[in-house]
């Protein structure tokens, strides 16, 4: 179930990577802020955490566009290190503003779904995790359909491949970069809403998602948004089976062991070309 969410997060990371050749180190922090948004929507309005996913998507979309307009655009023409450091700076800023405002305490919205247990094919699954998995697949499918079928989605894919050629056809790279940031952070917003029913939020929670998502992106083939989903599912399976077959504390180490093994055999990832 975790793999589906990691797949969605990996797609968000991969979208920016694929279109702009830029690694967004702050991605996990957007997810963390989305989880706080979900928590406060529950705490103040009593909104079921899953239902905050669309609200998060809209708020985080705007946050992504604002980030692009005021931070990323300025460093885009700079050296690659300036671009990487800018997203790393964002990570520090977003994390410690949250720390300052919310303290490092764990918080969790109470969800009806989290306490329900469903039996699927003989397996007992938490309702919250099942809905998070299904929601992640749905959000990923909507994003893929947008990229595959719409004029703007095709333009984004063209921009990812050849910026100058895209501009020669009248594609507005600046506007689409802003859109890509918005879509990417909106995916983090959805993921934040989906996991909040069964996960605590604290200012460091972004790391739980970001590192496996980077591994998923690398497994799927750098910048390949479709491969990122597959990478996420592989990570999820290794995470769960590794934790069950060994001891839970080493499951993340197993994820990275598989990740290193795959990259050793296929440096461009499982679906990279």
């Amino acid at each position: 179930m975790f793999g589906g969410v990691i797949g969605l997060v990996a797609v968000g990371v991969s979208l920016i990577w694929g279109i702009m050749d830029l690694i967004n180190f702050a991605y996990g922090e957007y997810l963390m802020w989305a989880m706080y948004l979900t928590f406060f929507l529950w705490a103040t309005l009593g909104l079921e955490p899953i239902l905050s996913a669309p609200i998060n998507a809209v708020v985080l979309f705007v946050a992504g566009v604002v980030t692009y307009r005021f931070v990323i655009r300025a460093v885009l023409r700079g050296p690659i290190f300036a671009q990487m450091l800018s997203t790393f700076g964002l990570l520090v800023l977003l994390r410690y503003v949250a720390w300052l405002l919310f303290r490092p305490d764990d918080r969790q919205a109470q969800s009806v779904l989290a306490t329900s247990v469903l039996t699927v094919g003989g397996l007992r699954v938490s309702g919250g995790e099942l809905v998070a998995f299904a929601g992640s697949l749905l959000a990923t499918s909507v994003l893929f359909a947008f990229l595959k079928c719409t004029k703007t989605g095709k333009a984004l894919r063209a921009l990812a491949q050849d910026r100058e050629a895209a501009v020669a056809l009248g594609i507005d790279a600046d506007r689409l970069y802003a859109l890509a940031w918005g879509l990417s952070t909106a995916a983090a917003g959805v993921a934040g809403g989906l996991v909040s029913s069964f996960m605590y939020v604290n200012p460091l929670v972004g790391d739980v998602f970001l590192l496996p998502a980077f591994a998923a992106v690398a497994l799927g083939g750098f910048g390949n948004v479709y491969g990122a989903v597959g990478g996420g599912l592989v990570i999820g399976v290794v995470n769960v089976t590794g934790g069950t077959l060994t001891v839970p504390k080493v499951k993340l180490a197993l994820v990275y062991l598989v990740f290193l093994g795959v990259l050793f055999l296929r440096p461009k990832g499982l679906w990279g070309r």
Partner: protein, 237 residues
């Protein structure tokens, strides 16, 4: 004249590439730009297409000053540009590549009709319209790029070395298509290394050297000129 370039200077950083280019293209003409490597041919097309701002001089389209406008503004005025290097989107299908040629137009049934018209012009693309463009040969890629540029019904088509790296038979096919375009009313300004073929199909031509216009004349006249033959056509008639 549809296009008038007057005393245009352009540079990459401190390095002057165009040092006073003057030329004109009348509506319905094919005009070739020839010259040795480094003469500024591709830079001239990039400057007209809006990818490089002229440092001095004027570029007029139908009498209107367009020098320094951005590529999108020039597309809106009917100037499309096929760059020298391959510029297809390999992971998109041939059909998607063509659709993006009409990106700035509303995607209506009229666009789909225009795409069908382009596919009629290039039947080899029509057969493979749903395949990824990365599987196309060099000549087919060129056809796709030219076809894509036609979807804006350009007033002026800028072609940068349309036959570079192609087999002789494919070169002939590309020039045949350029002639068909002229017959359909498209004006073409073309940079070409294959001087002989370019002069055979063009109405007029300019020879550039070191960023300046050196020779100007009708295609057939230049083909017969001793100076041009010695310098660019390998001497023999």
């Amino acid at each position: 004249m549809l296009l008038t370039v007057d005393d245009v200077h352009a540079s990459y950083g401190r390095f002057d590439v165009l040092r006073g280019i003057t030329l004109g293209v009348a509506a319905g003409e094919i005009v070739a730009v020839l010259g040795p490597n480094g003469a500024g041919k591709s830079t001239l097309l990039k400057t007209i297409a809006g990818f490089l701002a002229p440092r001095r001089g004027t570029i007029r389209l139908g009498g209107e000053q367009v020098g320094g406008l951005r590529p999108r503004a020039l597309l809106d005025k009917g100037v499309t540009y096929v760059m020298q290097r391959s510029s297809i989107f390999g992971k998109l299908t041939i059909l998607e590549n063509l659709e993006l040629g009409a990106y700035i137009r509303p995607w209506t049934s009229e666009v789909m009709q225009d795409i069908e018209r382009v596919l009629l012009l290039f039947p080899r693309l029509a057969e493979r319209r749903h395949q990824r463009a990365e599987g196309l040969s060099g000549g087919e890629r060129r056809m796709l790029e030219i076809g894509r540029a036609l979807l804006l019904n350009p007033k002026l088509l800028l072609l940068d070395e349309p036959t570079m790296g192609l087999a002789p038979l494919v070169m002939d096919l590309i020039f045949e298509k350029v002639l068909e375009l002229r017959a359909a009313g498209t004006t073409v300004l073309m940079v070409e290394q294959n001087a002989r073929l370019a002069l055979e199909v063009s109405d007029r031509a300019y020879v550039l050297e070191q960023g300046q216009t050196r020779i100007e004349g009708r295609g057939q006249e230049l083909l017969a000129s001793d100076a041009v033959r010695r310098a660019y056509l390998g001497g023999a008639r």
